[in-house]
Symmetry: C2
Subunit: 463 residues, 2 copies
């Protein structure tokens, strides 16, 4: 594989140009923008790399880009999951350079989606190209699945899997992303949190009313405040009956966290925070284990093992400058829940409707946007051995292995539906500002991420 | 005065044109728009009416238009208060015709400010003109004070009163507005609620953060929800210690409400409501009296005698279409309190700061926009006799006399500061949609409002 790794260095400038070209397309799935253009450009890059590619399409769904290469002889198949859609870029005024005009500064590439998840798309295609162009063939079969709805819940991927099941079969999966810790060590995630995204809406009077009538005309924001207060207590404990019931987090998950360095004060500084949210309280991880005496372990558990009910946005009434005295007619709040293995959005929805009935919130309209369950690969899987060995080679250090990622991703499609042991690694670092203004990756991390895929394929070929 | 009343009818079309001309100027004080143009146009109208006018100015304040006419011989002086500023017109899409292009439909004039409060400005100037042009003189002295900051709290009026105290002296005051009930009877208000307008702001992380970190990164909206929940219970009771302490509402105030017809189901229908806000609970009126067995009397007490804590607007995070999973960096809520005689914004502010300290909400930033105390004239005042007699003549029926208006207005400047017994009457009706889209007055109410001022002056001349 030495030649392949050299090929990466020799062609690295071209790889960066290809990355910039796809980052300049605003493929924002929630606003249905630039999807087609992005798919076309990625297809071109596949073809230039010598890989077979087909665009899978279904009505009402964004296309899935399916790439593959099957050598004449192979025993194992690896499948890569990525997504080409990105989050909206607002607030735009906080970006130093425009989000869809990729810019290089201080050894970093800045663009919306460069970290989440376009850097890894290019890294993986180019890693395979590097082997193919230098060895003339691959030692394993490779498959690529790049979907376009991850940032809006990946609702179509299960349908694609249903329809094209044979295409997706593999022995090992590599999921979308992974970042490097402040201490330089690359992260490997064995799974992801699940997600359920809701809107709650209250309408009272049929128009905004002079607030002198507030004694008589009900206020939809007060009603949302009451409803939200019923969902969660001040410590972050979720009050929906049955919410914690099925969580299946083990002592091994907690053990994995103990290897992770975490400087409480440094992390507070990183986010400009005076304090963290309510401490890890025991309830968060279900019935299995409680808060520890270590502040940093509790913080890690809050971050990685605590289901959350988060408010993403809220809007009602007069929000301009100055004052306006009205009882608003309606109020809207957007809320996401992060779920853990055992929990499902379907069960949450059921519990939520029971909650609404029990506490008399029938005037709160529930819109369930999307959701998916959580899933993870056991630490004992051969997939974990492979990635650990590859990481040692690429980075010269041990990976940090996380039971789940901070974020959510529909990895259950691979792990639970297709039964593929799947791990996650990528080109990001601790300062990548995923979902935030000035999203970026470090150029040298991008180079190593490509090489790591080369090494993963090399390790897999030994099995 | 018969000639004056005829003059009103003969010149009524011109009066409407003058009203339309000032309603076409968007004098929105909270956005600092069109103030100068509006003042200039009103000054012209004064001069055309044969009245003396001067524009009082102070640094950092919108001008006060001061008009007067002193006959050679008089014993009493009447002073009129109005404001030429208006509320913002949004949401614009709910207006049938543009808010600053006055339109006549179905016997009504539609425009932002036509009811609150430009209709009454014209009505009063034109009533005095009608007497002056037909009798050649006035039987009493008249003064006009038209301010330009009522919709942003009237913060400058007290300073003008301080500076120009002599100009403002009078025996009786007529405040800005009054409306006609569904049953046709005109309302007279003996006072107004007080007001205190706040913004509460919470900032946590220095940027929006991926909501997978919600277990660790505090959410400013959750914090506002907690703070708001600490201010008010589900029945609308305000939980700030000392809030109800100084309220001075009497049994007589409650008695006045008993004359007011109130059809609970009709009013619900009018606002498109399934239910009213939390019922009158006794606490609302301080220590003096409690909820009654009559649903409509309780609704009236909720409307007229219940101090409220109202949310005017709230904003945080992603409020666009679709989904975005973030912990927002900051959250803002606008809140107004309606106060009653005895309560002051200063005391509330003090109690609020104690509340914040007691319950540990030091992370909630308080911005006090403006406020003023409540004030009312006793039902036994000669001012009430005069307006009752005039109303009988103009409308051929008894007025409905309210202890306070639904809304707030800085009437304390006349009643408490200048010691002038002051009542309020005007050209609006129950469907005027004050502060709402499609604000309007009925043309015939406008005519009667002018005639009523003629009759008030006639009544006063007997004293």
């Amino acid at each position: 594989m030495q030649r392949a790794l050299e090929y990466v260095d020799e062609n690295f400038d071209t790889f960066i140009e290809d990355l910039k070209s796809i980052c300049s397309i605003p493929s924002i799935s929630t606003q249905d923008e630039g999807i087609k253009e992005c798919v076309t450009r990625i297809k071109e890059i596949f073809e230039e790399s010598g890989l077979n590619v087909q665009i899978l399409e279904m009505e009402g769904a964004n296309p899935v880009i399916y790439g593959e290469y099957k050598p004449a002889h192979y025993s194992k198949t690896i499948i890569f999951y990525n997504h080409y859609d990105v989050q909206p870029a607002d607030p735009l005024e906080l970006w130093t350079s425009p989000p869809f005009e990729p810019a290089i500064r201080d050894g970093k590439i800045f663009a919306r989606g460069v970290a989440d998840n376009k850097g890894n798309i290019i890294a993986r295609v180019k890693a395979v190209e590097s082997i193919l162009k230098t060895a003339g063939d691959l030692p394993v079969a490779v498959k690529f699945v790049f979907e376009g709805e991850e940032e809006v819940g990946g609702v179509s991927l299960p349908k694609y899997i249903e329809k094209y099941k044979d295409l997706f079969e593999a022995d090992i999966g590599v999921w979308e992303s992974g970042d490097r810790h402040e201490n330089g060590r690359p992260s490997v995630k064995l799974g992801y949190k699940g997600l359920a995204f809701f809107e709650f809406f209250v309408k009272k009077a049929d128009r905004d009313v002079h607030s002198g009538r507030a004694g008589l005309v009900p206020n939809p924001v007060w009603r949302l405040v009451e409803f939200l207060s019923s969902l969660r207590d001040e410590k972050g404990k979720i009050l929906i009956e049955g919410f914690y019931e099925d969580i299946n987090i083990s002592k091994e998950d907690e053990e994995l966290l103990k290897q992770i360095p975490f400087d409480v004060e440094e992390v507070k500084k990183e986010y400009g925070l005076a304090e963290f949210a309510g401490e890890f309280q025991g309830f968060e991880a279900g019935k299995n284990f409680a808060a520890s005496n270590s502040t940093s372990l509790n913080a890690l558990k809050s971050l990685y093992l605590k289901p959350t009910c988060n408010i993403d946005g809220i809007k009602s009434g007069y929000i301009g400058e100055g004052t306006k005295t009205i009882v608003p007619s309606e109020a809207l709040v957007k809320v996401d829940f992060r779920l853990f293995p055992g929990q499902t959005p379907e069960k949450l929805l059921e519990n939520l409707h029971e909650h609404i009935e029990k506490y008399g919130f029938s005037d709160v309209e529930v819109k369930y946007h999307y959701g998916y369950e959580s899933a993870k690969t056991p630490p004992s899987s051969f997939a974990v051995d492979i990635i650990r060995d590859a990481t040692r080679k690429t980075y010269g250090m041990e990976p940090l292995i996380y039971p789940v990622s901070v974020g959510s991703s529909p990895i259950y499609n691979f792990i639970n539906k297709l039964g593929i042991p799947t791990v996650s690694t990528g080109a990001e670092y601790w300062g990548s500002l995923v979902h935030s203004p000035n999203e970026n990756i470090r150029i040298e991390d991008f180079r190593l991420a490509i090489k790591n895929i080369v090494n993963i394929i090399a390790e897999l070929s030994k099995y």
